[in-house]
């Protein structure tokens, strides 16, 4: 499977130029960059809400023309519908697509909710959940559709540090289990290295993928890798790349 982006021109803001990369099946690809560099634009492009001005995006050679349930996007802000219970939120996808009969959708949702530790909250409304629980409910809402690709746009943003780390570890376990092709977008370096099989760094204005790093940290991955030598090597390499941009900017400012 290959996906390609080339050039996204969006007058008057030129977001992406000559931006091209591939996501491999069964891998967790992390897209990293500073805020405002066009990461979310990429997520919207992939989800199919907007289309590129030049170039194409393809899944297995077929171009993306609009939103579709083969790709599920989880956005920065929580998008659980506050007027539906957790159960109704999770079963929304299969019910809308009529891909599963209701009873089956419910039992599948229940299995997911058990896995996500939310089964006792199935009849609660999102407003009654904590931030981390909402994020898990969203993951369940996405996963129930058995998408071919998951796109996570800074899914843990806005969570406190501890919840965030818990969610990362949790998510890692989930990914190792499902091996669902994933594009994970983040602006946090540690999170990026911890999760990634392949790390794409975005930079420049208009931005493009400036660096690709294959992260060869061992699986199953726990937080122990964050103290390993290989992790520090990768981090150093990436920081050099990121701060080179910064240094240039600083000179310009002066």
């Amino acid at each position: 499977m290959r996906k390609w982006y080339h050039r996204k021109r969006q007058p008057p803001v030129h977001v992406l130029e000559n931006c091209s990369f591939a996501i491999d099946p069964g891998k967790l690809t992390v897209l990293m960059g500073m805020s405002g560099c066009g990461k979310s634009t990429l997520a919207y492009l992939l989800a199919g809400y907007i289309s590129p001005d030049q170039g194409t995006l393809t899944i297995d050679g077929a171009p993306i023309t609009g939103p579709g349930p083969d790709r599920i996007t989880v956005f920065q802000e929580t998008a659980l519908w506050p007027w539906m219970t957790v159960m109704d939120n999770v079963t929304f996808g299969p019910m809308a697509l009529k891909s599963l009969p209701e009873a089956q959708a419910r039992s599948k949702a229940e299995a997911l909710l058990i896995k996500f530790g939310l089964i006792d909250f199935r009849d609660k409304y999102p407003g009654q959940l904590s931030g981390g629980m909402k994020r898990r409910a969203e993951l369940a809402q996405a996963l129930i559709n058995s998408p071919r690709i998951m796109i996570l746009d800074e899914p843990f943003r806005g969570l406190d540090v501890m919840t965030r780390e818990l969610m990362q570890e949790y998510y890692m376990g989930l990914f190792e289990e499902t091996r669902l092709t994933t594009l994970f977008i983040t602006s946090e370096l540690e999170e990026a290295i911890f999760l990634a099989d392949r790390l794409l760094v975005m930079g420049g204005t208009p931005s493009r993928v400036v660096k690709t790093v294959e992260v060869d940290l061992p699986h199953p991955r726990t937080f122990e890798v964050l103290t390993g030598e290989r992790y520090l090597e990768i981090k150093k390499e990436l920081m050099e790349e990121l701060y080179r941009d910064e240094a240039v900017a600083a000179v310009v400012v002066q």
Partner: protein, 271 residues
């Protein structure tokens, strides 16, 4: 018995009572002791209440008189008919305006121009077109309630977070799913705000309409009592309108809370 006991222990209940008592005291005092002619023409609260509860009312209207209930029934019938017409036409129109950009372009300019026309300015035209008071009064009430409903429903649809639409599209929702699972529930809080305003506006227009063009109803009662200088009856009519308005808006609030349990429970957790 238990509810009464609980009420007795409730601070808010006593505050409310104190508010009423204060109001009546000021009313009584200004009529009885302020040596100004305008206050002298007011009936004092004791006079009003004793007339209201009098089996043989001096001016013909009390809770023991059949005619009183005719007035209430007529007014309630007109206000609720107008309200339900506004609900049946206003909510779908507001949703349609929020759902379809094109439709909104057609309708919003027209609404923006028609809405500022004061309701009473419609009365003469309504009487001419509808040939008579009854339909004209209902029409005028309907009109004000309708504008409140449409505009609030439309605002409600507009206020729905675009993320909710995106998420629905992402999960493969059809336009129909979006309508029933995103637009309607998402707009519901505003719709109910609109309905509360609509009900209030309907009563407001009703009293005015009945004063001009009706043979029954509380507005008519007030106007007739005015012509005959029966001041206690005027106040009875006003107070009855207040009570009916309060009851109707309480019913709407109750239905709204029932339909929006998700909201209540969220608030319940936070407070």
């Amino acid at each position: 018995m238990e509810t009464v006991l609980r009420l007795m222990q409730n601070r808010r209940f006593w505050s409310m009572c104190a508010g009423f008592l204060g109001f009546f005291a000021v009313w009584y005092g200004s009529v009885k002791w302020v040596p100004l002619a305008p206050f002298g023409r007011l009936p004092d609260p004791v006079k009003v209440i004793s007339e209201w509860l009098n089996p043989n009312p001096v001016f013909g209207i009390s809770i023991f008189v059949k005619t009183y209930y005719y007035h209430i029934l007529y007014s309630t019938y007109r206000a609720t008919t107008a309200f339900f017409l506004a609900l049946a036409l206003g909510v779908p129109l507001g949703i349609l305006m929020g759902w379809s950009r094109k439709f909104s372009d057609f309708a919003s300019a027209l609404l923006a121009l028609l809405r500022p026309v004061p309701p009473l300015a419609w009365v003469p035209l309504a009487i001419l077109i509808l040939r008579g008071g009854e339909a004209a009064v209902i029409f005028v009430c309907f009109l004000v309630a309708f504008f409140a409903t449409v505009l609030n429903t439309h605002a409600g649809v507009k206020s729905i977070d675009p993320d909710y639409f995106r998420a629905a599209a992402c999960l493969g929702a059809s336009r129909k799913d979006v309508l029933f699972d995103v637009i309607i529930p998402g707009a519901l809080p505003n719709i109910f705000t609109g309905l509360q305003i609509a009900m209030g506006a309907a009563w407001f227009a009703l009293a005015a309409g009945e004063m001009i063009a009706a043979q029954y109803g509380l507005g008519f009662l007030i106007m007739e009592a005015y012509n005959l200088v029966q001041t206690p009856t005027i106040v009875i009519g006003m107070a009855t309108l207040g009570i009916l308005g309060y009851i109707s808006s309480a019913i709407i609030r109750l239905v709204g809370n029932r339909l929006m349990r998700w909201r209540e429970e969220v608030i319940g957790v936070k407070s």
